[in-house]
């Protein structure tokens, strides 16, 4: 959010919006064709699904942690709520409408838990909030594993979950989330959240109720994490409580930190990059986590703003970048 809303003339805005819309449609069509002709096979498609889910998770966590400055280590907990609620519904009502209900119900349940968790804990600062959210996610996991096992089948997990996520669903949900979260950021609500991150006391003194906006960001983030969870269970057939533990929350955090806390496009880029790294390191799961750990330390030591800092990918950004590269190579100082 380094740029203000461009007060450009009406025409230029329409052209850029139309351009963005066109490129999205193109992207959708190209991939749909690749999939229909099996150029993109099941394995590659499942990678795309993972990327899409991670984009949604990273963007929603970024809203809470990067933009509003509330350090949440329990994001996977919200994901698990979406996953379980949706799975339970679609296992009972096997139809597209069942999936839609499951999707929405999962997200709404996650949002409700977000309010319940957020209201008491969001007054805590920094490290304490981190540990409290971590604790909340663990409590949710224990609830799913031991208390609600009548519905969730406990540690054995739920299997045979009907698969509904196809390319159109994946595309719409992922792009939709990115657009909606961006819209939130670039609005008075988003600006209020950012001001809380910058200086909570000053923000309060300017009339911004910090609790209200912290909870708003938290609940919105939880909602979209629920969507991601529902998508997960509706593609990968099987879920169990251990899939949504601290490790998953860390995975998401690494994406957000790598991409840049405060940059939506950064989260998107980082989600793709890290999934590709994951793919290569599939045979060595421990090595992947070792690298993640080292990555977190190295980023914090040498480039704490991550890839994009708090800037967004845009035409002017690309122009500046390529301009600078051109200068380095050809131009005199």
């Amino acid at each position: 959010m380094g740029k203000n809303i461009q007060a450009s003339s009406g025409n230029r805005k329409w052209i850029s919006t139309a351009g963005k819309l066109l490129s999205l449609v193109l992207f959708f069509v190209v991939f749909q064709l690749l999939i229909s002709f099996n150029v993109v096979n099941d394995y590659l498609f499942s990678t795309l699904v993972k990327i899409g889910i991670n984009i949604i998770l990273a963007v929603s966590l970024n809203l809470i942690t990067g933009f509003t400055g509330q350090f949440s280590l329990g994001h996977a907990g919200f994901m698990s709520i979406g996953a379980y609620v949706c799975a339970i519904i679609t296992l009972r009502y096997y139809s597209v409408w069942g999936f839609v209900c499951g999707l929405l119900a999962g997200a709404v349940c996650a949002a409700i838990v977000g309010i319940l968790v957020g209201l008491p804990t969001l007054r805590l600062k920094g490290d304490y909030l981190a540990i409290a959210t971590l604790g909340m996610a663990e409590i949710i996991k224990i609830l799913f594993r031991n208390v609600l096992d009548k519905w969730t089948n406990g540690a054995a997990g739920l299997s045979g979950i009907p698969q509904f996520v196809s390319w159109p669903w994946l595309f719409v949900l992922t792009v939709g989330t990115v657009i909606l979260v961006s819209n939130f950021i670039n609005s008075s609500h988003g600006r209020s959240c950012i001001s809380i991150r910058e200086d909570e006391i000053a923000a309060e003194s300017m009339g911004i109720g910090s609790t209200k906006y912290k909870v708003m960001a938290f609940v919105t983030g939880a909602f979209f994490a629920g969507i991601a969870g529902a998508m997960y269970s509706s593609y990968f057939f099987y879920i169990d409580p251990d899939l949504f533990g601290f490790q998953k929350s860390i995975d998401i955090l690494v994406i957000v930190v790598l991409g840049g806390m405060g940059s939506i496009s950064g989260s998107v880029i980082a989600a793709v990059v890290l999934e590709l790294i994951s793919m290569f390191l599939q045979a060595y799961p421990e090595l992947k986590m070792v690298i993640y750990g080292a990555l977190l330390v190295l980023i914090m030591l040498f480039r704490p703003q991550g890839i994009m800092g708090s800037r967004e990918l845009s035409l002017s950004f690309l122009k500046k970048w390529t301009g600078r590269l051109g200068q380095k190579n050809g131009g005199a100082a």
Partner: protein
Amino acid sequence: MEQFLQQVINGISLGSIYALMALGYTMVYGIIKLINFAHGDVYMIGAYVGYFCMTNLRLGFFPSLLISMLVCAILGVAIEKIAYKPLRNATRIAVLITAIGVSLFIEYGTMYIASPNPRSYPRLTGFMAKSYQVGGLTFSAQQILIIIITVVLMILLQLIVKKTRIGKAMRAVSLDRDAAQLMGISVDNTISFTFLLGSALAGAAGILVGIYYNSINPLMGMMPGLRAFVAAVFGGIGIIPGAMIGGYFIGLVEVMVSGYVNSMFRDAVVFAILIVILIVKPSGLLGKETREKV
């Protein structure tokens, strides 16, 4: 009644371990306001070093204990110098993320090198394998050992903190880093020493747990680490006696929940305690409120 008292004994043994770890958390937090996420992994390394000493090197318990503490002390100082010192003026979130990174690195590095499978400590012989019956209660030699060693270490710690110059330096840096520096105290060395002490205690806790529960694995540090952290917060983060009290409290709670309710709920209860403390009295049992100046 007997069963209850037996559980109390178990709780105190477990609590000793948590107290040792909680001390490390509380001292580090007191001096640089950081939740050392990697502390639980130092404890795990202590357990592994102890295993290595007693299995591969066939050393006795006490030499292994000392070596564990030494290795962990060095490890703790190394972590501080490499990962935390450069970030001393960064935001709290940045340091916390780094601590998480270090923790992952150590956990999965160990898993990669030493295999994720649990290992067992060698069976103890001689007086260590005995148990004693008093009244209707059983004390195993291990439990007695744990409690005695913990008490000795805590006394040593109190002596260091209260009676030595470096201990005074630790207290000074905790209160006001800049003023301490102006008084000629080397802040870097003091902080390193704090990590040294805390990590040595964690190492001791690790090898003691190895003896007590017998099984160790690379991820064993995570949950106990978090529980020890809750113990430190409960007693008052940054306050040494608080960590001791907190450790025993959490140990007893855990044993009681396991014994009388369901061991599956241990973690839920511990985290619930944390959340209640943070909401009701975040400065903990022995802590005082601090205010931000506007």
